[in-house]
Amino acid sequence: MSENISIVVDGMAEAVPQGLSLPRLILLHQAQHKDLIVEINGRFVHPREYERVALKDGDRVELIHPAFGG
C-alpha cells in the first residue's frame, strides 16, 4: 500500500501519493497549459524535466499561469 506525502501546492497543503509524478499533479490541478510555469522549492522546472520529477515530502510547488494581458 502506498503512503501519502505532504506537499504544498500554490500555498495550500495537500496529501498526495508517494512518488506522484509532476505531470500527474499538473493533471490533477487541471493546469495542463503549454505556457504553465512550474516552480518547485523556488526553482523553475523546464517542461522537458517534468517526467523526471517525482515529488518528495515537503516540496513546495507553484503552478503559475502567466498573465499576458497589458
Binding site: G11, H33, K34, D35, I37, E39, G42, R43, F44, V45, H46, P47, R48, E49, E62, I64, H65, P66, A67, F68, G69, G70
Partner: protein, 252 residues
Amino acid sequence: MPGRYTMQERLAGWGPEGQARLEGSTAVVLGLGGLGGTTAMLLARAGVGRLRLVDPDRVALDNLHRQILYGEADAAQAAPKAQAAARRLASANGQVRLEAVQAEFQESNGAELLQGTDVVLDCLDRPQPRFVLNELCLKLGLPWVHAGVVAAQGQLLVVRPGTTPCLRCWFPGGAEPSFTSAEHGVIGPAASVLASLQANEALKLLLGQDQALLAGMLVVRLWPPSFREVRFHRVGQEPCPACGYQAKPLRP
C-alpha cells in the same frame, strides 16, 4: 531650492550623474493600457529624455478603471491612446521629448519602432507580439522589461540578451491565451503594481545599476498578496531555440 529631480537624485547610485544619464536616454513603451500608461508616466516624471509611445488603439470607457493616463473626455472622443498619452505626459514633464505612434507593434515595423532606443517596455496585451519582441531584441542586443497582467496577478522579467534567459527560455512551448482578461478581468491595482515594478527595472537599466536588477521571474499575486521570485534552472536542457543559451548562470 530643491529641483525637479532632487529627491530621486538623493538615492544611492542615482545622483546628478545618473539623472544626466536618464536625460540622455530613450525608452520605447509598447502598449499604452493599464501597464504602459503607468510605466510611461513614471519614466516621464523621472526625466527619461525621450519616450516613444506606441499603441494602435483608441480610449474606451472600459479602459478607465485601470488606465490612469486617460479621462472621460478621451473615452467620449475615442481618442487615440498614443496621442492622448503624449498630451498627458507632456503636462507632467515638459522636458521629455515625446513621440506618439499610433501603430501596432509587429514583425514588419518592429525594428523601425525600436530604432535608437536604450530600453524597451513590453506592455503589450497578448502573447504573440511579445515573442516577436523577444526575437527582435535578441537580434538587436536590446535590453527589455517584460510585464503582463490578468485579473489580480502578473509577472515581471528583465531580459538582457547575452546575459539572462530570454522569454522563450521561460516559455519553450510558446504561449496560449489560456488565462485572459477577457475571461478573468483585470483590476487597476494589479496593473499599476506591475507597471511600477517594470518602470523601476527600466530605470535601473538606464542608470547602469545592473547589480540591482531583478534576476529571476517575479510572480506577483495580489488576491491574496504574494511576491515570489522564481529562479531559472537549466540543468540538462537543450539550447534555447531563440537565444541558444547565450545566458550565463544566474546567481544561485
